[in-house]
């Protein structure tokens, strides 16, 4: 892409600018809404502030996965592996039960929450590169399966290597963020009861992640991702370094997963290896797809919808469902527990999204064009006709293995 001189106001520039303003407006509205949540929550006595924290952690995960899948077009089915690595690195560094701390291998400085979080962030990125490097030349679905294998092996390792990881007992007593003293003798604490402070912390981290990801996406690297996603060969001949571009996507995507993992570890203060499974990776993927691959705001909304369904709505929707069942005198509705349908609902969401609205609820403008199936239920005749007019529309070289 060549930057246009600022003076020439073409129609496209105008549209871009309007788009940018609209984005900014939504962002400001969103932040205001988030800022109001704790007040509304306490004013109405909803008591659901605790639900927001894991929701935000998962939204950060979804934003990270969006880099890999949405921006760079690399399907990662083992994304939670990096989350586990982030959480465990935080545990290894800060917990008095960790063998590394007990052997005195960890300098005092790293036993705090903030340095450990930074280490978790970097370590996940390093693992992202380690996994990415040998596999990036694989074609799309093979890459997906390799990441799936990796996503199975990592939790298996943490549960089986009991001598280091405590096995199924997990590791407890992970450090929490230290109190921040305020002028006037008060301080901001992060113990389990200080949900308000935790809420602000995850919101801050979420907004920071959003900011970083947006900056990167609009940089040269972000444009390179799009180019690689659209057409590898063309991108390569335009001078994009394929390996470096993809590795950056993997590393950055993984780093946000590690980031989320260490915050989660600090919040819960215990990590257990059975807390993440293949289905966790799939749910994160579902969040990205539901919202709209490649559109970070869509992904945030998708993450919010799915997580709140899983953690809050499935509970809360039972009452109205039973009420309807009562009114209609249908035992099936009256006694049905929506929580037992969650797999079905996620599965349906994935399938329906792909079939009916492959770009997600809020498709990114480029990806919308790309994901739309062009012809449905074609007959032989139609297909032949189509072939006649589609000579120039052969599958692009980029899709060649």
């Amino acid at each position: 892409m060549v930057s246009t001189p600022a003076a020439s106001t073409t129609w496209e520039d105008d549209a871009d600018q309007r788009q940018a303003w609209r984005e900014r407006l939504w962002l400001i509205l969103g932040i205001i809404a988030l800022a109001l949540v704790p007040f509304v929550d306490s004013a109405l006595g909803i008591n659901r502030l605790g639900s927001w924290i894991p929701i935000f952690v998962f939204i950060i995960l979804a934003m990270g996965l969006n880099i890999v899948v949405g921006y760079a077009g690399l399907l990662d089915l083992g994304y939670v592996a990096f989350f586990v690595i982030g959480a465990y690195s935080c545990a290894f560094l800060t917990s008095p039960s960790s063998v590394f701390v007990q052997n005195g291998w960890i300098p005092e400085f790293f036993q705090g929450f903030w340095p450990a979080m930074a280490v978790g962030w970097v370590l996940a990125a390093v693992f992202g590169v380690l996994i990415g490097a040998p596999t990036l030349r694989l074609r799309g679905d093979y890459l997906a399966i390799v990441t799936l294998g990796f996503g199975e092996i990592v939790p298996d390792f943490f549960i089986n290597a009991a001598a280091i990881t405590g096995g199924p007992n997990g590791i407890g007593q992970i450090a929490r963020p230290p109190s921040i003293p305020l002028p006037g003798g008060n301080s901001i604490n992060f113990s389990s009861g200080d949900l308000d402070n935790w809420y602000w912390l995850v919101v801050a981290v979420g907004v920071l992640s959003l900011f970083i990801i947006n900056r990167v996406y609009k940089s040269r690297l972000g444009r390179a991702w799009q180019a690689v996603r659209e057409d590898e060969v063309a991108a390569s001949s335009m001078g994009v370094n394929l390996v470096r571009t993809k590795l950056w996507a993997f590393a950055l995507g993984a780093s946000f997963s590690g980031f989320a993992g260490s915050i989660y570890g600090g919040y819960i203060t215990v990590v257990y290896p059975d807390q993440v499974q293949f289905s966790t990776s799939i749910i994160i993927l579902a969040m990205v797809i539901l919202g709209g691959l490649g559109n970070i705001y869509g992904v945030i909304i998708g993450g919010f919808l799915i997580q709140s369904f899983d953690r809050v709505l499935a509970d809360e929707l039972n009452a109205p469902l039973h009420w309807i069942g009562d009114r209609l005198n249908l035992d099936f509705l009256r006694e049905h527990d929506l929580q037992s349908d969650r797999f079905l609902i996620f599965g349906l969401a994935l399938v329906l999204m792909m079939v009916l609205r492959p770009g997600g609820l809020f498709p990114s403008r480029q990806r919308a064009a790309e994901m739309r199936p062009e012809d449905q239920d074609i007959t032989v005749q139609e297909q032949q006709e189509m072939y006649d007019v589609r000579q120039d529309d052969e599958p692009s070289a980029g899709e060649r293995a």
Binding site: Y142, L350, R400
Partner: protein, 324 residues
Amino acid sequence: MDFNLDLFLQILIIGITYGAMIALIALGYTLVYGIVELINFAHGEVFMMGAFFTMQVVLWVGVTSESATVAVVGALALALLAAMAFSGGINYFIDRVAYRRLRNAPRLAPLIAAIGFSFILQNIAIYWRGSNPVTPEAVIPLEIRSLNILTAWFGLDTNLRVRLIDFLVVLVTIPILIGLSWFVYRTRTGAAMRATAQDREAAALMGIDVNRTIGTAFLIGGALAGAAGMIAVYYLNSARFQMGFQYGLFAFTAAVLGGIGNLSGAVLGGFLIGIIWAMSDGFIRQFIPEWGAQWTPTVIFGLLILVLVFRPSGLLGEQVPDRA
């Protein structure tokens, strides 16, 4: 520790039986992949549905271990056909409602839809038979299931055991493999499938109904999974809603190991994975004291990664459309 030959052979026999079942599932994977280049992630769940439907059919027919042998054999044959039809139907249905619409979408779209279907089928299985492992109606008495044919039929004086059920698994698998090869290489539909695999548009120009051909591949792939499901129910004597996941991944690994899209490769890969699984569960601990069965998935997924990274075309070479 000394090399325990008896144990090694015994584990090898078990591994071959595991392998036969994996090969059956892997064939379905490879058949579909060879034609539409889609990792049908729901394949493991289609297999699981076959297993569940088998139990349902036997329940409907109402045979028990008391019934006459003819009735039992007849019921099992019926269950096999029913499971094949049921699983084939599910697979065809999935293709018809979802994958077909996504033929020209980017690769990730059908893969994601497939993952969605695997979740849906698992939930249906929970509605159906609950979440705990289910034991099928004991129509084959234990004495017959676990009859050692080496001593009983061949009169060998040996510690090795080949149970009748192991023998039956391999016995059912082989004709299915031969039948499938015959179908793909000797029939018109098979030729159409291979043509579609080579070049979908050229095949369409030659008058092949591409959608119908692909649908047939899904139908056959599903039927194979259904057969494997029926066999698995009576081999394992147990079924549960998650059974398709790990079997499916092992089978996919087998298909990739052998060279995806390659029928004989899938069979070879299946037997290799089965043997590796059995050895890791049962033999490696003879040499590595701390080794345990909990490392088996790690070994197999590690192998999958190594194969994909270093030899992505598998042992026997892949056979996929060249426009890939």
